[in-house]
């Protein structure tokens, strides 16, 4: 482990500019997360163009802080409005809202904040410890292994995405297909440009990202806007929990944090999966399960610790392998790409200073979350009341200016709106856009590593069978694809019928 890089990363973060950006990013994330209908991913996509003119350390620090802030911010409207601000706060509604109805909104928000802080800090420290260890392992990864990892990343993310597995895989495959638009780096052939010079350099990842995540969100907000004013519960009790209560909840918080880290490491799963998993485990370990769903504070602490712990967990495969663990980490990877830093195992070696800066930024963002949360949680209540239609128009305006800011080109704005319309269609079809975004990132990685592997193997596909690591990864990828087909279901039914027949014969 290169300790000098760890120290460089720490020094990069603890400058006045970066600390201010971390606090600002956390506050912005808090407000965005608190607004129902907005997500951390969307906010990251909108803020990404802002980081172009910043140095990598500052840009990444702000984005990481926004991610952390939004992960907690979702609990504010979950507890006060009975509407999760972000998908990962859905489980918090179950016990958070009943607590606010019982006049304990402050208690619920305070525990949510402290649980988020502990979970996030745990994941930041896990990231700091695990990433360099994984970095040693991935030095064994050559082009063959990188191709296999990219294939695995796409298939797992596609199969675990929301909606049916086949939808997720289609979304990922579409992303891979779209990633081939532009000049082929090997032969210089313009592919699928249809004579359009603006497409020669390919489709800008950020343009697609803003279009696929933000525009559909805005259109959905307009669709469900109905002019009815949102009524939030008032915060009448204190926010800061007692030490005794925190101590009682700590085993639950620590367990949920571990769940969040592990779930975050698995590509394709995110805060929503982790929060429900942690909630179920908290209920399982509770002495009095009957209180869950009626205002048990453990039912607030568990999902909030888990959904913040996902942040660091999802960054582990992102940093170690260059495979985004979630759509939000895909954007953080995009932020690195925008700064000219290509994703891959070399993030920890060639760009170690920037990578460790990101890791330290996550840790400091969680500390910032505690301070910012204590000061501004009550102020977020007013933000939750902004009408949906106004939020939608603001998002569209930000999308247009944000996509223009990339290359100062109206073509990018048009492309962004096109992706936005497609993303809205995907949402109507129940298909997640996250695998498509990840396909856009992994497409060039897959293509480059494929061509390099073919060169190594003398244009023989057998090169992928020469590496045990690649064989294992490709087998797992094949299995996850087969799960999407009816074949698996038929095999399971046949086995069940056979075992039922055998049981029946034994009884006779």
């Amino acid at each position: 482990m290169d300790t000098s890089l760890i120290v460089v990363g720490l020094v990069n973060v603890i400058t006045l500019t970066n600390i201010s950006l971390i606090l600002g990013g956390t506050l912005l994330g808090l407000f965005v997360g608190a607004m129902p209908g907005l997500s951390a991913t969307m906010a990251l996509a909108l803020l990404l163009p802002l980081t172009y003119n910043m140095d990598p350390a500052s840009g990444l620090s702000m984005l990481a802080a926004l991610y952390v802030g939004a992960s907690y911010g979702g609990s504010i409207s979950a507890i006060l409005l009975r509407t999760p601000g972000t998908p990962s706060a859905a489980a918090t509604v179950l016990d958070g809202y009943p607590l606010s109805q019982q006049g304990q909104a402050g208690r619920a928000l305070g525990i949510s904040l402290f649980a988020s802080f502990v979970g996030g800090l745990m994941s930041g420290l896990a990231l700091l410890t695990a990433a360099p260890l994984l970095g040693v392992v991935v030095l064994e990864f050559g082009p063959v292994e990188m191709f296999a990892i990219a294939v695995l990343g796409i298939t797992i993310i596609g199969s675990l995405a929301q909606g049916s597995m086949i939808s997720g895989l289609l979304s990922g495959a579409l992303g891979l297909l779209v990633s081939t638009v532009g000049m082929d780096f090997l032969t210089g052939t313009p592919r699928m440009t249809f004579g359009q010079i603006n497409l020669f350099s390919g489709i800008e990842f950020v343009v697609a990202l803003i279009g696929l995540f933000s525009i559909p969100q805005a259109l959905r907000l307009i669709e469900k806007s109905n002019g009815v004013a949102k009524i939030a519960s008032k915060i009448t009790d204190r926010l800061i929990p007692s030490f005794r209560e925190l101590k009682q909840l700590m085993p639950n918080i620590l367990r949920s944090g571990c769940i969040g880290i592990i779930v975050g490491v698995i590509p394709g799963t995110g805060g929503d999966t982790a929060s429900w998993f942690a909630y179920n485990e908290a209920k399982r370990f509770a002495k009095d399960k009957s209180r869950f769903g009626k205002g048990d504070i453990a039912g607030v602490a568990a999902p909030e610790s888990a959904n913040n712990a996902v942040v660091g967990g999802a960054l582990i495969p992102t940093i170690a392998l260059g495979i985004p663990g979630s759509s939000s980490t895909a954007i953080l990877l995009g932020a690195l790409m925008v700064q000219g830093i290509l994703p891959g195992p070399n993030l920890l070696t060639d760009y170690g200073d920037v990578t460790y800066t990101l890791i330290w930024a996550v840790i400091f963002a969680n500390v910032g979350l505690l301070l910012v949360g204590l000061m501004f949680t009550k102020a977020c209540v007013s933000v939750t009341k902004v009408p949906d239609a106004f939020v939608a128009c603001t998002i569209i305006t930000l999308c247009i200016i944000g996509s223009f800011a990339i290359n100062n080109s109206i073509f990018d704005v048009g492309l962004m709106l096109g992706f936005g319309l497609f993303g809205y269609w995907l949402s109507k079809a129940g298909v997640s856009p996250a695998p498509m975004v990840i396909g856009l990132i992994l497409g060039p990685v897959m293509e480059n590593s494929f061509h390099q592997s073919m060169l190594i193997g003398n244009h023989s596909f057998a090169v992928f069978l020469d590496s045990p690591i690649a064989i294992v990864l490709l087998c797992i990828a094949t299995l996850s694809v087969f799960q999407a087909t009816p074949l698996f279901g038929w095999i399971k039914t046949l086995r069940r019928q056979r075992s039922a027949k055998t049981e029946h014969q034994k009884q006779l």
Binding site: G163, L170, A173, K224, S225, I396, L417, W425, K428
Partner: protein, 161 residues
């Protein structure tokens, strides 16, 4: 049955076929990955079409058996929304296209204010007072962040001035 999914499947086949045909004209190395990806998209799109057609068949069988008069759309995304709200969505999107086309001619300030006012009038769920104050705040923040701070070369005022 989710009509959007069915049409998406057909669209996927179409786009993959276009990419496939276009790729056959490239040198071998340039064509390799687009051909592989197009094939994958075709297979998965056909899978989605098959899934939707099977679910339609299953629905019809269940409806006949239980004499169910209701036909619910599939839960996955295609919830039938009031036509009025879908029209508002469509108009807002068209307004967004017009807004982006107008920026270079009418200037950023005028086109942004016009777009937001028009879109909020279409949705009719926000009061005029809130709209005006909110629009002023949003435009001010964007001008400070993107134009003053980032130095974005976007015309603020109409170019015919």
């Amino acid at each position: 049955m989710n009509t959007s999914r069915l049409v998406l499947g057909i669209f996927g086949v179409g786009i993959a076929v276009v990419f496939y045909i276009d790729s056959t004209g490239y040198p071998d190395q340039a064509a390799q990955m687009p051909l592989i990806y197009s094939t994958a998209v075709v297979l998965l799109s056909l899978g989605i079409v098959a899934q939707e057609l099977l679910s339609l068949r299953r629905h019809r069988t269940v409806a006949v058996e239980s004499r169910d008069a209701h036909s619910n759309d599939d839960a996955n995304g295609d919830k039938s929304e009031a036509p009025g709200r879908l029209l508002a969505v469509f108009i807002t999107f068209v307004l967004a296209i017009i807004y982006s086309a107008l920026i270079n001619y009418a200037g950023y300030l005028l086109s942004t204010v016009a777009f937001m006012l028009a879109a909020l009038l279409v949705t009719r769920t926000v009061s005029v007072a809130f709209s005006l104050v909110g629009i002023a705040a949003v435009v001010a923040v964007i001008c400070i962040v993107f134009i003053a701070f980032l130095g974005l070369p976007i015309p603020l005022l109409p170019t015919f001035f």
